[in-house]
Symmetry: C2
Amino acid sequence: MQSLNTEMEKFEVTILGCGSATPTPRHNPSAQIVNIHDKLSLVDCGEGTQMQMRTNRQRFMALRNVFISHLHGDHCLGLVGLISTFALLGRTKDFHVYAHAELQPLLDAQLKLFCHSLGFEVVFHVVEPHKHVLVYEDRTMEVWSLPLKHSMKATGYLFREKQGQRHINREMTDAYGIPVCYLNNIRAGEDWTMPDGRIIPNVRLTTPADPARSYAYCSDTAYYPALIPLLKGVDLLYHEATYDNSKAIKAKIHGHSTAGQAADIAKQAEVGKLLIGHYSAAYDSPALMLNQAREIFQNTIAADEGLTIVVEPHPKNAIPA
Amino acid sequence: MQSLNTEMEKFEVTILGCGSATPTPRHNPSAQIVNIHDKLSLVDCGEGTQMQMRTNRQRFMALRNVFISHLHGDHCLGLVGLISTFALLGRTKDFHVYAHAELQPLLDAQLKLFCHSLGFEVVFHVVEPHKHVLVYEDRTMEVWSLPLKHSMKATGYLFREKQGQRHINREMTDAYGIPVCYLNNIRAGEDWTMPDGRIIPNVRLTTPADPARSYAYCSDTAYYPALIPLLKGVDLLYHEATYDNSKAIKAKIHGHSTAGQAADIAKQAEVGKLLIGHYSAAYDSPALMLNQAREIFQNTIAADEGLTIVVEPHPKNAIPA
């Protein structure tokens, strides 16, 4: 695998909560921060998310949007408190909520009661469940919905970094006397024509762009092989592993996955790394789930509150030296 | 002050959260457990209350009711998560919510969305703000509303233990050969008539009943002297002290109190002990507020998450030896 380019832009995931519906002193309900090039998105917003952001020193006001997977309380009950606090802190920038349509009237009613005068707009974007479509896009990233299979309709999210530009080799551009004002064209792939007409090919002036990375969030979901083609080759996959392998029947009944099932999806989708979470309150530690997942997919790590995972390029995407 | 009778029934307050609206890593939003004779009531239910109950090993399912002071998010946003968890844990006993009327339609809508099938009833009791009336009563306790003065309508609560029975002096009842089946009459104050007609006065057979104790919760409120007669002589008073004395103007604008104002109310109401809380996020520690309050009312303590305060009889209520 390539060593990380020190110029590589930030793409990391911070776990704020990786427990399941029943609260424990060990885990908070679901919430994560996805930081792509210093743009912060929240994925799910269980009760206590705003306190977890404080505890983990996340930049509160930098949050641009939240992507809610489904309308179970442990994935969205922290939303109104978060928005209330934005108001108290004097936010003026719009905040975007991506969720299933049923949340909107309730959110509106709560904001009316708890947040009388917001200095910003809460913009609601309806996410259609059971679809794999582009729900968000900007200059540097895309977010796609992922249909999940749960006890109620549920949607995962796939974060894709857009392909960046090539990196300037300053030694070479200096040697050829290329003016600074032209460097953006070189980054974009143009060759350089010398005053004597010689053409210096771009490949001599630049090093390859960083591979565009991707992160998929799949929680809550039963074992759902239909996801495999949609997750093919993602660099980091968060897949719930509520139960250990002995609880496969219970998992199926409740629309959840075992550790082995999460790892099976990761293996078949040939992802770079698997991150498991959403542990049942019955477990004191995720060790059992981690071991069971690693038997099937070695490159697995266990989510924990406060853990930040840098999304690294998939080993298969390593750039040839 | 009398030494505590070891037979004295439980009356204690456990702080689950004593911060104010903006969350900090130091404090949770408002919530307390009032335990009177092992009957548990919740007072306010800010976001994260259920996690705080777990962390502080409070008996989840023993909660009978919640008394909400007002409809700011930091005093009630934990309610739906708590009720959801009751459902997940298989609760069957009704749960009673005492709050202002505006909460009811929103709570109903949330329960409909987040708690599809409850195995118990959530019974809503409308609390009228600006009134001092009995809102709850059972065999051992009463709860009275207390009008507060805040930026929105707000209601405090006064918990009053009912006067218990006198304590049997077993040595004496044995000496007079009083049968066990008659002891309840003796506890209730009756004298004993000997077979020879002699009357043994009750006071020889019993020791005095424990004094009936009281606890008042006053948050959120500006300095509000109208409270003083309603709080006269309570054993323990929780009074918010959001700010130190230098922030009196800010306190007034936002409908909050300074430490000095809280202590002034305690002093004028001649309460037994003052407990301050609801600290602004601007303070790293409650030390300043505690010192300022003690200058006016010495018997003051500072609330902190996890602290349990035994409600002791007011020094003035000490039973003569």
